[in-house]
């Protein structure tokens, strides 16, 4: 909003009870003032509406967060259902490799999880960690 109320040009005289100012069109001033009041009340009503909208938006965002968590869980479940290696099988493979010539590696070899030092992790840390894991897996698929 660029429009500013201009500065007054005239200085007010010292307080004097006998001083009056003639108003040319008092009805017009009253009208303008009432319109301003009406608009101000309208703004306050508007404010209440905005508060309600924001409240609804927060609720929807919470719903979205829950849905995303559920999606993450379902993705994980789906990933679990896909065939994967047995750790002992992998170890057995390694010992056999020493004696026998190299064999084709199984299709969906997964690296054993790197032990993470125990510390307090925030939600963001956890998400970043799982994101890094997924990106790593994606790189191996390329």
């Amino acid at each position: 909003m660029n429009k500013k109320i201009p500065k007054r040009k005239m200085e007010l005289p010292a307080h004097d009870e006998t001083y009056f100012i003639y108003l040319k069109n008092p009805l017009e001033y009253r009208r303008q003032l009432l319109e301003s009041t009406r608009r101000t009340i309208h703004c306050l009503k508007n404010y209440q509406r905005i508060l309600l909208i924001r409240q609804k938006k927060l609720e929807e965002l919470q719903k979205l967060k829950t849905s995303l968590k559920e999606l993450l869980y379902l993705n994980k479940k789906l990933n679990e259902k896909l065939p994967k290696y047995d750790k002992s099988f992998l170890e057995g493979m390694k010992s056999e490799d020493k004696v026998k010539p190299a064999r084709a590696t199984p299709i969906n070899a997964r690296k054993p999880a790197v032990p993470v030092p125990h510390r307090e992790r925030s939600e963001l840390d956890k998400l970043e960690e799982s994101l890094a894991g997924i990106e790593k897996k994606l790189r191996t698929l390329q």
């Binding site: 909003m1 429009k3 500013k4 109320i5 201009p6 007054r8 040009k9 005239m10 100012i21 003639y22 108003l23 040319k24 069109n25 017009e28 001033y29 303008q32 003032l33 319109e35 301003s36 608009r39 101000t40 309208h42 703004c43 508007n46 404010y47 509406r49 905005i50 909208i53 924001r54 609804k56 938006k57 929807e60 965002l61 719903k63 979205l64 849905s67 995303l68 559920e70 999606l71 379902l74 993705n75 479940k77 789906l78 259902k81 896909l82 065939p83 084709a104 590696t105 199984p106 299709i107 969906n108 070899a109 191996t140 698929l141």
Partner: protein, 74 residues
């Protein structure tokens, strides 16, 4: 890792996978709807803010008129 090798999934797991995919699809649909609702609320909020701005501009104009009329009176 060998690529493009056929993968065999147990039939029991396969059924579960299908179920999970169905639930996933349903969840995705719900999420899309929620997002759409958020977008609608956002545009509603923007509209209210615009209305607010318009009102404030109008009030400023009216007050400026009254102010000038009072203080620039001859």
């Amino acid at each position: 890792m060998e690529k493009n090798v056929p993968v065999f999934v147990k039939i029991v797991d396969y059924k579960e996978v299908l179920d999970i995919v169905d639930v996933l699809k349903q969840k995705l649909k719900e999420t899309t709807q929620t997002l759409e609702h958020i977008r609608e609320l956002k545009s509603e909020e923007d509209k209210e803010l615009q209305e607010w701005e318009k009102s404030i501009t109008e009030i400023s104009r009216r007050i400026a008129f009254i102010d000038s009329a009072f203080f620039e009176n001859e």
